[in-house]
C-alpha cells in the first residue's frame, strides 16, 4: 500500500517536471506576451498541481490532507486570475496578438484577413 502510494506520487512528480520544462520552453519559444502567458501559465499550473496531488498522496494524516486541499483550491483561484490580470493589461494597452506564418498554423484559417 505504501509502496503503491509512493510510486503514484513519484509518477505525479515526474509529470510535474515534464510539464514544467514544457512551460519554460514555451515561455522562451513564442514571441509575444499572450502566447508566452498561455504556455507559461497553463503548463506551470499543471506542474504545481501535480506536485500538490503527489503531496496529497504522501500526506500522513487527514488534517494535513485537508490543508493541502485548501491550498489547491486557493491556487486554482489565484493562478488564472494572475495570468488574466497580465493579459488584460496587455489587451488594454492596445497590443495585437502575434500571428504565425500560414505554413506554421494549426487548424482552419480565415484567408480574407491576411494583408
Amino acid at each position: 500500500m505504501t509502496l503503491a502510494r509512493e510510486l503514484l506520487a513519484l509518477l505525479f512528480f515526474a509529470s510535474a517536471v515534464i510539464f514544467g520544462i514544457g512551460g519554460i520552453i514555451g515561455l522562451f519559444r513564442f514571441p509575444d506576451p499572450y502566447s508566452r502567458l498561455q504556455a507559461g501559465s497553463l503548463c506551470g499550473t499543471t506542474a504545481i498541481f501535480s506536485i500538490f496531488i503527489g503531496a496529497l498522496l504522501l500526506s500522513t494524516s487527514l488534517a494535513v490532507a485537508a490543508r493541502v486541499v485548501v491550498i489547491m483550491i486557493f491556487f486554482l483561484v489565484s493562478a488564472p486570475t494572475g495570468s488574466h490580470i497580465v493579459a488584460r493589461f496587455a489587451w488594454n494597452s492596445g497590443l495585437q496578438p502575434w500571428k504565425p506564418p500560414l505554413s506554421r498554423r494549426s487548424g482552419y484559417t480565415d484567408r480574407q484577413d491576411e494583408p
Binding site: I18, F19, G22, G23, I25, G26, R29, F30, Y34, S35, L37, Q38, A39, S41, L42, C43, T45, T46, F49, A63, A66, R67, V70, L76, V77, A79, P80, T81, S83, H84, A87, R88, W91, P97, W98, K99, P100, R104, R105, S106, G107, Y108, T109, D110
Partner: protein, 170 residues
C-alpha cells in the same frame, strides 16, 4: 424587519459561517480558547466585510451557494480538462503549430460568481486566456483558434464548461 435588512442579516450569517469553517480547518483544534477566538474573529471580520463577500444585488441564494455534489463533480472534471489541455499545450510548444486569435462571445450564466468561475476555468482549459469580462460578454485570446464566428467559437471554448457550471450555480 424589511427585506433589505433581512438580506443583510442572511449575508452576514453566511459570511461568519464560512470564516469560522476556514478557521476550524486551519487551527485544527476544538479547545475552548481557540474556539472563542475563532468565533469572535469571524463575527468581527464578517461585520466588516459581508458587503464585499456577497454583493447586495445577488438576489437569490442559488446565485452564490453551490450545489455541493455538482461542485465536487465540476472540480474533478476541471482537473481532468486541466491535464488534457496542458498535454495539448505541451505538444504545441514542441511542434510550434499554433493559431492565436482573439475571439468574442457571450455566456448564458447569470450570477456574477458563476461568470467569474467560468472565465477563470476557461483561462486554463482549452488553451485560452480571458482578456475581459464585461457583464455577459467575454473577450478571449484563443491559442488553437479554428473559427472566428462568435457562436461557434463560444461553443468550442466554453460549451462543455458552461454545461457543467449551470448545474452548480444559476
Amino acid at each position: 424587519m424589511d427585506t433589505s435588512r433581512l438580506w443583510s442579516l442572511i449575508r452576514f450569517i453566511i459570511t461568519a459561517i464560512a470564516l469560522l469553517a476556514v478557521w476550524l480547518l486551519f487551527s485544527g483544534s476544538l479547545e475552548p480558547f481557540s474556539l472563542i477566538i475563532g468565533i469572535v474573529g469571524a463575527l468581527v471580520i464578517a461585520s466588516l466585510t459581508y458587503n464585499e463577500f456577497i454583493a447586495q444585488h445577488d438576489a437569490s441564494l442559488r446565485s452564490f451557494l453551490p450545489r455541493p455534489f455538482a461542485l465536487a463533480a465540476f472540480s474533478f472534471i476541471l482537473v481532468l480538462y486541466l491535464y488534457q489541455s496542458s498535454w495539448f499545450m505541451l505538444l504545441a510548444v514542441l511542434s510550434g503549430r499554433v493559431n492565436p486569435r482573439i475571439v468574442h462571445f457571450r455566456t448564458r450564466l447569470r450570477s456574477d460568481l458563476a461568470r467569474m468561475v467560468l472565465s477563470n476555468s476557461i483561462t486554463f482549459t482549452p488553451g485560452t486566456i480571458t482578456l475581459d469580462l464585461n457583464d455577459d460578454h467575454l473577450t478571449v485570446h484563443w491559442f488553437f483558434c479554428t473559427t472566428s464566428h462568435a457562436r461557434a467559437a463560444g461553443d468550442a471554448v466554453k460549451g462543455r464548461m458552461e454545461k457543467h457550471l449551470r448545474k452548480v450555480w444559476l
